[in-house]
C-alpha cells in the first residue's frame, strides 16, 4: 500500500525582502503560515508548486514543506520549518517580532 500523503504547504523566500512566505489558497504570498493553503492531495500539491515556481520575480526557491492542521491554520512539522515561522533563536528578530 502506498504510504499516506503528508499534507503540505508551498513556501519560499520573498525576492526583495528575503523573508519566508507561504502560498495561500487565494494565490497570495502570506508572511503568516496560518494563512497558508494546507494541501491534502498529492496531485494538487504538484500543481500548486509549479504555479508557485512560475512566479519568478516574486519569490525564490519555492518548495513543498510538510504541515499539519492546527486550530488557527496549518502548522509546521519539521523543526526547520518551525524556525522559519519564527526567526533566529539568538535575537528577537524576524517573524517572532514582525507578526
Amino acid at each position: 500500500m502506498p504510504s499516506p500523503f503528508t499534507p503540505k504547504v508551498v513556501t519560499a523566500n520573498d525576492l526583495l525582502q528575503g523573508d519566508v512566505v507561504w502560498l495561500t489558497a487565494d494565490d497570495r504570498w502570506s508572511r503568516d503560515m496560518r494563512e497558508a493553503e494546507l494541501i491534502e492531495d498529492e496531485a494538487h500539491a504538484d500543481i500548486r508548486l509549479i504555479e508557485a515556481q512560475a512566479q519568478r520575480s516574486v519569490v525564490v526557491g519555492a518548495y513543498l514543506a510538510d504541515a499539519r492542521p492546527g486550530a488557527t491554520g496549518p502548522k509546521p512539522v519539521h523543526f526547520r520549518e518551525v524556525f522559519r515561522t519564527r526567526g533566529p533563536s539568538n535575537y528577537a528578530h524576524g517573524k517572532q517580532v514582525g507578526i
Binding site: Q17, G18, V77, R84, N90, K95
Partner: protein, 556 residues
C-alpha cells in the same frame, strides 16, 4: 597595510556597477533566479533561512579603523545594527534587502573593501595568522606572501578551471595559528639549519565531510621558491584531480588516493621544470608589497603603569592574564578582544562596539585591527602602559570579557538560526555552555579548552579540531549533537574521536559538563591541560562519564 592600486580600485567599482544592473534585471524579471544565483554568490550575497546574507572579505584578517567604522555604518543603515565575524576572517551581515545590496557594496568600495568571494573553482582568498606582524614567535610577517599569492593567482590562465576550489593558509610563526593543516596548501614559516627563513609546505588538509590532516610535502622551502613550488603543486593536482565527483575533487582526496610519496615525486619533478621560468619579477613584486606592511613605529616607554594597574585591579589582572599575547617588541602586547561574552552570540559585534574598537585602535593601537578565525578581534600593537586605558574603554563597551582560550571562547557557525544548509542549531548550544560554566565559576580552574560547534557536516565551525567538538545533526526530525574529543587545530593537528551516540538539544550542555568534570577528576595537576589529559588517558574515561552515569544518552 596593503592599499588598492588603480587597477584594484577600478575593478571593484566596475563590479559594483555590474551588480547594480544585475539586481535591477533580476527585479524586473529579465534574469531568472538560476541565472542570478551565480552572479549574487560571486558578490558574496547568499539567501539564507530568514533573509539574504552578505559576506564581506577581510583579507588576511587585516582591517583599519576607517573600514571598521564603515562596517558599523552599514550595520546600522542596512542591517539590524550588528555584524557577525566568522572563522574565515569575514564579516557577515544577516539581514540585507536585495535592493540595498548595491549601495552596501558601494559603501564598502569607498573604504577599499568588497564582498567578491572569488568563488568558483579557483585559488581563494589566502588566510593568515591573525597575530601577523606582531607575534613574538614570528620569523617574518606572512601577509606580503599572502598578497603575492593573491596577485599571482588572480586571473592566472592555468588555474581558472581547477577541479575544485583551492584554499591556502599561511603563518609566519612555527606556532600555527592559521590552521594550516586543514587547508589545501598550508605554509608554516620555519628556519633552516643555518637560520634562513623558509616554509614547511603542507598539502591535502581539509575538514568537511572527509576530514584530513595535511601532510608535509617539503620540510623546508626557501622563500624565493614559493610561487614556483605552489604552481607545481596546483598543476600536478590540476592533472590528477577527480573532476567526476565533487566530493572527491579536493586535493586532500588526490593525496589520499595517490599517496603523499607519489605526489611529492611529481611535484618536485614539475618544480624543477618550471623553476627557471620565474625570472625574479616575483621577488621584485614581493619587495614592493612588503613596503605596504611595514611595522608601525613602536617607541620605548616605561611599563610601570601596567604593573601598577595589575597590582591594584584584580579584574584588570585577570583580563591581562587571558587576553594578552607576547609581542615581538618588549613593552608591547597583542590584545585579543573577546566577542564571546557568556550568553552572547560568538563573533557578533554591535555597531557601537565596532566604533569603540576602531577608536581604541586609533588612539592606542597604531590604527591596526585584525579579525581572528576564532571569531575575536585583535589589536596587534598596544603598549603595555596604555593597557589600563584600553581595558577601561573596552569595559565601557561591554567588550572586556576575560576568557580568551578558555571554555567560554567557543567557535560556533551560524547553524540553523541562519544557515539554509544547517541540520541543527549551533548558536544556542554555544550560549548555554558558556552560561553554564560562567555560573559554575570554573573557567579559570579548567584552563585552556577549545570548544568548536558546527551546524552540519560542512564543518564551518571547525568542530573536528575542537578539543571538544560538537556537530549538530538531524536525527529523524530532532536536533541531535554528536561529540568528538581530542581534536587539535595547531601544527600538531589531530581530528577528534567520536564518543558515540549523540545528545538531544536539552542534554548537550549536561554532557559537556560531565566531560569537563571527568577531566578535572583525572588530571594529574592543574597544569595538565584538557588535551594533555585526553592524550594520556584516552577516550574511555570520558565515554564512561558520558554514557554510564547521569542522564541516559539518547541513542541516535
Amino acid at each position: 597595510m596593503y592599499s588598492y592600486n588603480d587597477f584594484d580600485e577600478a575593478f571593484v567599482r566596475e563590479r559594483v556597477a555590474q551588480f547594480r544592473a544585475q539586481v535591477e534585471r533580476r527585479i524586473d524579471g529579465s534574469l531568472t533566479e538560476d541565472e542570478f544565483r551565480p552572479l549574487r554568490l560571486m558578490n558574496g550575497l547568499y539567501l539564507q533561512l530568514h533573509a539574504y546574507m552578505l559576506r564581506v572579505a577581510v583579507p588576511y584578517g587585516t582591517i583599519n579603523p576607517t573600514q571598521m567604522r564603515q562596517l558599523a555604518h552599514i550595520a546600522e543603515t542596512f542591517d539590524k545594527g550588528y555584524g557577525h565575524f566568522t572563522t574565515r576572517q569575514n564579516i557577515q551581515f544577516n539581514w540585507p534587502k536585495l535592493r540595498d545590496v548595491p549601495d552596501i557594496l558601494e559603501a564598502l568600495a569607498d573604504v577599499e573593501m568588497h564582498a567578491i568571494q572569488t568563488s568558483g573553482n579557483t585559488i581563494r582568498n589566502v588566510t593568515a595568522d591573525h597575530f601577523a606582524g606582531a607575534a613574538a614567535d614570528e620569523i617574518e610577517d606572512p601577509r606580503p606572501y599572502a598578497e603575492l599569492i593573491r596577485q599571482w593567482s588572480t586571473d592566472h590562465p592555468e588555474f581558472q578551471f581547477l577541479p575544485r576550489k583551492f584554499k591556502i593558509a599561511i603563518t609566519g610563526s612555527p606556532n600555527d595559528r592559521a590552521v594550516t593543516k586543514a587547508h589545501d596548501i598550508g605554509l608554516r614559516m620555519v628556519r633552516s639549519a643555518d637560520g634562513l627563513p623558509g616554509f614547511e609546505v603542507i598539502v591535502g588538509g581539509g575538514l568537511g565531510r572527509t576530514p584530513m590532516v595535511g601532510k608535509v610535502i617539503r620540510g623546508f622551502l626557501p622563500t624565493g621558491d614559493l610561487l614556483p613550488f605552489i604552481e607545481a603543486i596546483v598543476s600536478v593536482w590540476n592533472l590528477l584531480g577527480r573532476r567526476d565527483n565533487k566530493y572527491k575533487a579536493r586535493i586532500k582526496i588526490t593525496v589520499h588516493e595517490h599517496g603523499i610519496d607519489e605526489i611529492q615525486r611529481l611535484v618536485e619533478d614539475r618544480f624543477v621544470e618550471i623553476r627557471p621560468s620565474f625570472s625574479g619579477v616575483d621577488q621584485d613584486l614581493l619587495a614592493e608589497i612588503k613596503r605596504h606592511f611595514a611595522s608601525p613605529d613602536l617607541a620605548e616607554r616605561s611599563v610601570d603603569a601596567f604593573e601598577a594597574a595589575r597590582r591594584a585591579d584584580p579584574s584588570f589582572r585577570s583580563w591581562s592574564d587571558t587576553n594578552l599575547a607576547a609581542h615581538r617588541v618588549d613593552g608591547y602586547a597583542i590584545v585579543t578582544i573577546s566577542l564571546k561574552k557568556p550568553g552572547a552570540t560568538p563573533g557578533d559585534a554591535t555597531a557601537a562596539q565596532m566604533r569603540t574598537m576602531a577608536e581604541i585602535a586609533e588612539t592606542f593601537g597604531h590604527g591596526e585591527l585584525r579579525i581572528s578565525h576564532e571569531q575575536n578581534v585583535i589589536l596587534p600593537h598596544v603598549h603595555k602602559a596604555d593597557l589600563p586605558a584600553v581595558y577601561a574603554a573596552l569595559r565601557a563597551a561591554d567588550l572586556a570579557t576575560a576568557n580568551v582560550g578558555l571554555i567560554g571562547d567557543i567557535i560556533a557557525c551560524p547553524g540553523m538560526d541562519y544557515c539554509a544548509l544547517a541540520t541543527a542549531r549551533s548558536i544556542p548550544v554555544a550560549q548555554e555552555i558558556a552560561e553554564r560554566f560562567e555560573a559554575l565559576k570554573l573557567d579559570h580552574e579548567i584552563g585552556p579548552l577549545k570548544i568548536k560547534i558546527s551546524g552540519c557536516i560542512n564543518a564551518c565551525g571547525h568542530h573536528h579540531v575542537g578539543h571538544i567538538g560538537i556537530l549538530g545533526l538531524d536525527r529523524a526530525g530532532v536536533e541531535n549533537y554528536q561529540i568528538t574529543l581530542g581534536g587539535d587545530g595547531t601544527e600538531d593537528m589531530v581530528i577528534g574521536d567520536k564518543t558515540g551516540p549523540g545528545f538531544a538539544c536539552d542534554e548537550i550542555t549536561g554532557a559537556i559538563e560531565r566531560i569537563v568534570m571527568a577531566y578535572l577528576a583525572e588530571r594529574l595537576s592543574p597544569e595538565e591541560t584538557f588535551l594533555e589529559t585526553y592524550r594520556r588517558i584516552g577516550i574511555a574515561p570520558f565515554k564512561a562519564a558520558l554514557y554510564e552515569q547521569g542522564e541516559t544518552a539518547n541513542a541516535a
